[in-house]
């Protein structure tokens, strides 16, 4: 299995590195956008999928990264400086917003974060001297290291790929530590987790803040991809889009955000013939998926992996624990 995984990783890496050389502009852009969405989805998966905290403020956190690079770039701050500032702001606001997360239950948290996203939008729109207000900021520059410039779409793709790799690796590193286990424990049984000493406060704050920080990174890479941002890019609708992405991919699974990001960027392309029906089909798909594949598309992925490697994986739906009174050990 280990060999398979290494092979897959190598193959995937080679494809990601080489195929842009043969891609036309349009597909290159889609690939870049997918990578940016992947970073954002990984962040939300950490917050929601692993630590079980619903966040409808992801687009708000994303805006911190986008505006940081857009505002600091013209002031001569290197691009990476902008990313760091934006990510730090997102992280800190994640901590601040994480506090109510401790006190309130899931659906209330949805409201708090939703409210936060709307307030962020209002501030971005109304603070004209800093953010350019409704008119946004255009001509956002792309990064350069000395003579090495990531100006062309292809070069910028590689730049995004670098960051995406970093994010994926760091998320993997976090999730395969004791933290990752604690996050899963909280999601699976919050009360039990607390009884085995998991500080809900610390872990929830961290999950929220790190998830938000990833959104900051994603946002910072998003702005130069479009070269233009305005507050309308960071509305509640986009937060919901990320939510859908993560849920469609598969919550609390490492593969989830990969599948979600690819599907959400490629689906419109597949459904192009449907013209005005795209959103109707999309929303129907979401409902059907919740009904018949609530674990997300990752369940289909598991099935494929299972078929390919002819190996039994744990079923997507573990059987419910037996009823206490009814079951006795056979003698």
């Amino acid at each position: 299995m280990r060999g398979w995984r290494a092979l897959g990783l190598l193959g995937g890496g080679a494809i990601l590195l080489l195929f842009p050389l043969f891609l036309e502009q349009y597909k290159l852009y889609l690939a870049s956008l997918t990578l940016v969405y992947l970073i954002l989805a990984i962040g939300l998966n950490l917050t929601l999928g692993y630590a079980g905290q619903i966040s409808l403020a992801h687009a708000g956190f994303m805006s911190f990264g986008s505006y940081a690079v857009a505002i600091l770039g013209p002031l001569g701050v290197p691009f990476e400086g902008g990313i760091i500032v934006g990510t730090a702001i997102a992280f800190l606001w994640g901590l601040v917003l994480g506090f109510p997360a401790l006190k309130v239950k899931h659906h209330y948290l949805a409201m708090v974060t939703l409210g936060f996203n709307i307030i962020v939008f209002l501030v971005l729109r109304n603070w004209e001297s800093l953010t350019g207000g409704s008119f946004g900021i255009s001509g956002i520059g792309r990064p350069h290291w000395g003579p090495l410039r990531f100006l062309s779409d292809r070069a910028y793709y590689y730049y995004i790929l670098g960051w995406a790799t970093l994010v994926v690796a760091s998320a993997y590193w976090i999730l395969h530590s004791r933290w990752g286990r604690a996050f899963r424990a909280i999601r699976e049984n919050e009360m039990r987790a607390e009884v085995v000493g998991v500080s809900l406060r610390n872990y929830k704050l961290m999950a929220f803040a790190i998830g938000s920080a990833y959104a900051g990174i994603g946002g910072a890479l998003f702005a130069p991809l479009l070269t233009y941002i305005d507050p309308g890019a960071f509305t509640l609708d986009r937060s919901i889009q990320f939510l859908m992405m993560v849920v469609m991919g598969g919550l609390g699974r490492f593969e989830g955000p990969f599948i979600g990001a690819v599907v959400v960027t490629l689906l419109p392309e597949l459904l192009r013939a449907s013209e005005g029906f795209y959103l109707i089909i999309f929303s129907l798909a979401v409902i059907l998926m919740m009904l018949f594949m609530p674990k997300g598309l990752v369940a289909a992925w598991d099935w494929m992996v299972c078929r390919l490697t002819r190996r039994t994986v744990s079923p997507a739906h573990p059987p419910p624990p037996p009823e206490p009174a009814a079951v006795l050990e056979p003698e």
């Binding site: 933290w179 699976e188 049984n189 009360m191 206490p324 050990e329």
Partner: protein
């Protein structure tokens, strides 16, 4: 000084009183039984002690420290662990992971838990426990896929894993077959002999009478009796509470 002392503890849900003015103390190394009919407040008492519920009135002291208002994780860090009447596991983790989870927060700080990767020591301990409890065969199975008895044992193992000083067992024998009950009783006595303090809620009178040297009886949220098994056995109030008058 008692290890664990409960003073005048009360708990209300809405207008219903689940516990009223319960006081009891647990000495170091003791094996205390807690009995009472259904709904007499035993589990609520455990919940109040371990920080799962906040008591309405009264205090809980542990080694002289007032732990009434601590959250559950802080209580755990003091060295109190527990099991649950309705099994509470991490269903999508393996047996081994459940055990590791039960111990990982005991040492280090938040950040060393991210940075320190080595887990050989804990894994060794978990493997020993798995063997001790007879779960070796299923150690890599998901907790959700275990049989009820195995889940009970795992719950018990999770309580032992952090090497606590006081272990609160909430009906460890309920729904477990007689062979396993014997094994569990032996485990508990064995551990008690090694210095662990136990408080056991149990419905199986036979087990309680043979296991514990002191028993506390709750009924309708109040403590109605306390004494040796023999004293409890002869107490008219207790019989009343159980069988009605």
């Amino acid at each position: 000084m008692p290890l664990l002392e409960i003073r005048q503890l009360s708990k209300h849900f809405f207008h219903l009183s689940a516990l009223s003015h319960v006081s009891l103390s647990v000495e170091p190394g003791e094996l205390l039984g807690l009995i009472g009919p259904n709904g007499s407040g035993k589990t609520t008492l455990f919940n109040c002690v371990t920080g799962v519920l906040r008591p309405s009135r009264g205090h809980v002291f542990y080694q002289g420290e007032d732990i009434t208002k601590l959250t559950a994780d802080a209580v755990y860090h003091r060295g109190i662990s527990r099991t649950f009447q309705l099994i509470q596991l991490f269903p999508e983790m393996t047996v081994l992971e459940n055990l590791l989870m039960a111990a990982q927060e005991r040492t280090g700080t938040l950040f060393t838990r991210l940075l320190r990767r080595d887990e050989t020591e804990e894994t060794d301990r978990a493997l020993k426990l798995v063997e001790y409890l007879g779960l070796s065969g299923v150690k890599d199975n998901l907790a959700a896929n275990l049989s009820y008895g195995q889940q009970k044992l795992l719950d018990f193992g999770m309580a032992l894993m952090p090497d606590p000083q006081v272990i609160l067992l909430d009906e460890p024998m309920a729904g477990v077959n007689p062979t396993m009950i014997k094994a569990l009783v032996t485990h508990i006595q064995d551990l008690n002999a090694r210095g662990y303090t136990f408080v056991v809620i149990e419905h199986n009178m036979e087990v309680v009478m043979s296991l514990c040297r002191r028993i506390v009886v709750l009924s309708q949220g109040e403590k109605i009796a306390e004494g040796t098994p023999a004293e409890i056995h002869d107490n008219a109030d207790v019989m009343d509470a159980y069988f009605g008058s």
